[in-house]
């Protein structure tokens, strides 16, 4: 169980972690498709790069974002003693 005085630092830590994972992801999500036209001129594995990044690339980015967020957040929980008691 988390100690009372740990709650504030824990939540501050959690909030920053969320923003640090969320904002870059949001930026990529909005900006990446807008540059697809220019990126399409080069290619990768036979795919036009813009299309490849928006499809396969975005999938990998989403996966890495979730995985790293889950990993970091679990570490934060343990650091502050807020983890589940299993």
């Amino acid at each position: 169980m988390i100690e009372r005085k740990e709650r504030k630092p824990y939540w501050r830590h959690t909030k920053w972690q969320m923003l640090a994972s969320f904002l870059p992801f949001l930026a990529v999500m909005i900006v990446l498709p807008l540059y697809a036209e220019e990126l399409n001129r080069s290619r990768f594995l036979g795919f036009p790069l813009g299309y490849f990044l928006a499809a396969h690339g975005f999938f990998v980015i989403a996966l890495v974002t979730v995985a790293s967020y889950v990993n970091r957040q679990n570490a934060i929980d343990h650091w502050h003693g807020a983890h589940e008691d299993t």
Partner: protein, 611 residues
Amino acid sequence: MSFSARGRMVNPRLGTYFGIFASLFAALFLLTLISEQLALSDRILRLALFAGPLILYAVIGGSVATQEPLGYFAAGRRVPAGYTGLILAMCAMGSTFLVAGTGAFFFIGFDALVLMIGGLAGFVFMAMMLAPFYRKFGAYTVPSYLGRRFESKGLRLAAAMVAAVPTLLVLSAELGLGASVAVRLTGFSHSALVLILAGAVALAVAPGGKRGFTWCGVAQAIATLLALCIVAATVAVIVTSLPVPQLTHGPLVRNLVRNEVNQGLQLLAAWPLQFDLPGEGLHALAKPYTSPFGAIGTVGFTIGGLMIAAGVASAPWLLPRVAATPGVYEARKSLGWATVFFGLTMLTVTSVAVFMREYVLELVMSERIGALPVWLTEVVGAGLASFDQNASGFTFDSLRFDRDGVLFALPIAAGLPHVFGYFLMTGMIGAAMLGASATSVSLAAILSEDVVQGLSWNEEANRNRVWLARCFVVIAVTCGGTLTLLAPTDPLRLVLWAFALTGASLFPVLGLSVWWKRLTKTGALTGMLAGFGTAALAIFASESGALPIPSAIAGILGLPVATAIAMLVSSFVRETSRHDLEVVRDIRVPGGEIIYDREMRRLQLKANVRS
């Protein structure tokens, strides 16, 4: 409630069970494939592939029947992360993103990526903002969560109304699309098949509620993935010699880039707010595959992506799934799995669209001599496409394809035995049933828990509660079926409206209820209703032509409105109680007791003392 230790136990034989199911399903496919070669009648094969899986699902649904409310409403809170992720991903897609989505990718190529980007972002949003906290709270439905979080029956009722509308829309979309796929498979009439599918859904999920839906749903998801992957991989082997369609369709895409423009496909730049996903029916190819923003404009793409993301993240038929995981960590992990399954499946869908486009391009680049190619005759004969006989040759204009038939045209175009096509249809019917089960179970839980019993927090005797929910499963499915029959609408559009409505009403309130502790119940109530009202008005206005924004994305106007009103009202009407603050403090910490159970026990004690 003595389930905390026992309830966390995950059944160690799950892998075996679903291994058996997958082999049964593969065996059914091989058997029908052999029978086809042995010249068994086509009609029997189709019926076997239609009825066989339905019986399997009903058997699974019946064998996991339960009387316990915890089992009925939260699958016993013991569904491991991988399975939860699989169901989340497949429910978010339903058959709509698979069948209609393939058509969308086929016609507008790059622009249809808005579906994939939106869905993936939705899972990322859900993982960071909502899922772990919702799991810590442990409520069975989204309205119960809001009602308990703010201790307000009015908010609970209002949230139930707001959540029921999009859920019903998706239910009707899935039943309608599932039935139109089943029409292709069996040849029965559309309305009869809507009834059959609705009945099959009720039969599969009514006995076991969320528990039945979970294990039936995993089976349906496996069936869908197997069907899609077998067909896509077989075609990939034929075309590219490697069975990994997701990675190997690159050279084909390059071929498309090189030749489509020469053959007369031009990119007309879209108006920034444009959002033209292809509707139902026959269309001709309109833009080169990889060029962005020909059918959907730049602003429309961004807004559409955010809208789908907000909708997926807060969907009342998806979010309660994470409450069925054994713990907060598993809930976080399940979203990772959801991302994996969603991404891989959508990449397979794009590859199917590219293969199909490649066949069409080949046709257009060939000279028309004599009779039509065999596959085109068959595709036209099956009603999946049309060809203008008066045209001088094959052009992109003279060939028209049915949006919801592109997926099923692929095995024919590749010259595979008919059973591949039938098998694909079986899989897609499974996906439609999965989407319909998810929505009908959630709708039943919302109606029975939050509307009928919403005025009291006292839980009735366990038996009644579960039976009531069972009745509401039947009622929900009936409503969905009736809506499909009386007001048939394009399923893709229905699903987008549903995402817009949830994204505009529930997403801001759910997000703020965790991340902003000064949100009050009046703020949440007004914000939610304002968001819902704005979204519904915007959709109606744009359908009637009063608002110059496409109706698919107009609903998202409600999101900023809801957020602003919720925050403004909360800042003016300060009424945060000690209880609210305590609850929000507990939601934020993964460790400790499940809040919903604790609250229910507290209320029970209070009631006992009073009586």
